[in-house]
């Protein structure tokens, strides 16, 4: 099966974020970057599908500055076969602009399956995959937690409130991958890292669509104020209840 996986390079979520000088971006200082978690699971899902069915090819695609190549190399080290870097000065917030660039690349690729992560863990918009499906006129299933392919038919499961729904669709199709489809993305072995250095990586300018949505301001959440000790033992209970009712307004 020919599978494409679109992946995004994002800041490590464990970092302590600071707002950049323009007030509308995250400062780069002390931040480490890696593949978005959902995208990692999508790469893992693609590799597992091809391992199960034998043969096939996994192409990973990422849009962004040159540093995106580092993330693509990681996917190659995990086992993807080739990589395409769609070069852009920065990753715009507007998912549709990105979707147009990705669709332009995917259009003539002859892919049986296109995978995305359900969301990018930094922007958490979760729209780009669906937009690409629309542009390519492909069936789209979002937030897939189980994926099977048999011949030219795909079967996907989605976790919905209180249950599971199973969907079937013809290939080629586009799926966005949710947590739970794979238990863990594989860790690239040194052998994989060495092999990745020799795998093909194509870099070309991204054909971004018009950008119509921009971030105008970013703010950190307000700092949590320190806790307060109301008193000790049973004597403090009435005061605590009063405060929870009047100040915290949770009762």
């Amino acid at each position: 099966m020919k599978i494409a996986v679109c992946i995004k390079r994002v800041a490590d979520m464990g970092a302590r974020f600071q707002i950049g000088a323009d007030g509308a971006s995250v400062s780069d200082a002390g931040i480490k970057y890696d593949m978005s978690d959902f995208d990692e699971w999508a790469v893992e899902a693609a590799l597992q599908l091809n391992e199960k069915h034998g043969g096939g090819e996994v192409t990973v695609i990422s849009l962004g500055p040159d540093s995106a190549q580092e993330t693509l190399r990681k996917a190659l080290a995990m086992g993807a076969d080739k990589a395409v870097h769609l070069k852009a000065d920065r990753i715009p917030f507007d998912g549709f602009a990105i979707a147009e660039a990705l669709a332009a690349e995917l259009k003539d690729g002859g892919f049986d399956l296109v995978l995305f992560g359900r969301i990018a863990v930094d922007s958490a918009a979760g729209v780009t995959g669906a937009m690409v499906a629309e542009l390519l006129d492909m069936p789209c299933v979002t937030a897939v937690s189980k994926l099977e392919v048999s011949g030219t038919t795909g079967t996907a499961e989605r976790q919905v409130e209180g249950g599971v729904e199973t969907l079937s669709f013809p290939l080629p199709a586009l799926c966005t991958i949710d947590q739970g489809l794979v238990t863990q993305a594989r860790y690239p072995s040194l052998k994989g890292i060495m092999a990745a250095k020799k795998k093909p990586m194509e870099s070309k300018p991204a054909q971004l669509g018009a950008i119509s949505v921009n971030v105008s301001k970013m703010e950190l959440p307000p700092e949590r104020s320190a806790g307060r000790i109301v008193g000790e033992g049973a004597a403090a209970v009435p005061e605590l209840i009063r405060l929870l009712q009047t100040e915290a307004k949770v009762l």
Binding site: G14, Y187, S189
Partner: protein
Amino acid sequence: MSGQNFAFLLVLVAALGFFSYNIQRLVSYLKLGLPENRLDHPERRTWNLITIGFAQTRILRERGAGLSHASVFWGFLVITAGTAEILLHGVWPGFSYEHLLPRPLWQLFMLSQEIFAVIVLVAVSWLLWRRIVSPPKRLQGKEIHNTEAIIILFVIASLMLTLYTTGAFEYAANPAMRAAQYGWFRPISSLLGAALSGAPEGAMHAAYTVSFWSHALLVLGFLNFLPYSKHLHVVSSLINVWFSNTSGPGQVGVMKPMDLEAEVEQFGALDVDHLSWKNLLDGYSCTECGRCTAACPANITGKPLSPRKIVVDTRRRLMEKAPLMAGELDVEGSATLLMEAPGASDAFGNRLLDNYITEDELWACTSCRACVTECPVSIDQLDIIYELRRGLVLNEGRFPEEVQPTFESLEKNASPWAFSPADRARWSEGLNIPTYAEAFAEGKRPDILFWVGCMGSFDDRAKKITVAFARILQAADIDFAILGQEETCHGDPARRLGNEYLYQMLAKGTIETLDRYEVKTIVTFCPHCFHQMGNEFPQLGGNYEVIHHSTYIERLLNANMIPLTTEHGKHLTMTYHDSCYLGRYNDVYDSPRESLKRALPILTLVEPERTKDRGLCCGAGGGRMFVDEKVGKRINVERTEELIATGADVIAVACPFCMTMMTDGVAKLESAVTVLDISEVVAGQLAPVRSRELVAGD
């Protein structure tokens, strides 16, 4: 030459020829292994041969069995000289040492043969009794070739007995030679011979011939049985001791350097031909005595690891694979397959990893070096485990799933735990401790780098050790600084877990930082940091003087640089738990004990049953800190029970990993015993002028 002598010559040539064929075959198998230079420091190697080999120091660590083995071994050395004479005598009847040596010397030689034969007989009888009647635990189980051992012991006993009978029959058959050839210097043969001297001389001649041939055939049979049995160690163990690095030369416990840029088919080892020839020689030398397995904390607590099995499996796999390779090995030892050999493709599809040694065995190891320390023939079980772990991780990306967050955090945060690097020096807030960056900005060059380590930086319990040690340094007016946020993990956990790639990335980064700040002397309270930076960094070009805090505190106390209070409080009984990376890896046993005694002269120090180089691991070494302990009894509980049983009020440790394991053990056993780092005990005794709060007390 008589017909009989000619027949003997034929037998002798055939036996020696077959033995030499087998030895050459075994040596050619060694060439399947990777090259490794083991010819350095011949003086150190020869010293090991004399002490561990000839003086049997390691085997004597176990009194009873050790003394028996040593008796057989020394007897073997003495009696082999006599055996050579007997074999030559068979071909050339006129040959005797009698003609070569002055008579008193010859008499002494004859006496030595008879005395050692008695000693060997006594030892062998005891060993047989032990094998058959009351085998210790390490000699039970299906891995053990017990029948083989029993046969060998009987053969040795028969060799000794025929030595006497041959002499006795010769005495009885030849009255003429009695005066010159027999007497006080052959007491047992002479006595036995005298008892037989009434018998017909013809019968005695015949009996002599039978006895002589029996002895000679037993010797030659024994010789040719060796290459097919675990008794190959008779041939290989002395050689193995000479080539071994487990007792030096070089720093012990250092992992093999690895060139990640090398064009190789695999990294680390997946099969025997990815191990070094020395690892394979270890396989030949294993006697299956099981001292390693009996000392293994994983094995003791019911995990699937047995270091003996690792070595025996290496030999078994070599014996399976090597015959499949073409006889013509080139210099590098690479070989062509003889795939047409029957069963070859099946056997070739096997490999050491998975088919012989499973992943679970490899991950159970705490790298405590107890196995290596116990081995009487200097086998390095740990080296094989490390190479296979590297094989698993670097080629196949296989490791326990809970290790993945550790690797990822090391990559992203340069710490095995997902803490922000920005929080690394939080513990130092308000303590007035300069960082190197601050010191350099003021144009200062601190004398000492206090390397805090990841545990000391982020773990709440270990941070108290950090503060305690910093206070000692301040009280002693030491010119020191920390790296603060610039400190990064040196990668040792990744290395121990087989991830050499990640290790080298982190280690090189750390070395860069250290060199940028012109660091020369490092003090740390983590034995893992101490071992890694002091002993393994030189492989990557990082050369520093690294001192463990136990040694450093002892030095400061000896120099009276630490102002101590004279108030000693209530009398305490303490027991000290040895850290593997401090003790067995670096031979530091006394400094922590001395530091405790000097800081608190009224304390009573008691030792647990397993202590110093026999100490039991806490269970956290070798990356086990990051692997769930799912099988068997918890190692830390086993160890804590033993420490509590000493009746101590305080368990003293000198390692933050041991601290975590012992604290957990005490909690699990609901004991009231306190666990303290030695620096906390010392900081608790600082003179009040300098120390505002007593750290150890809280």
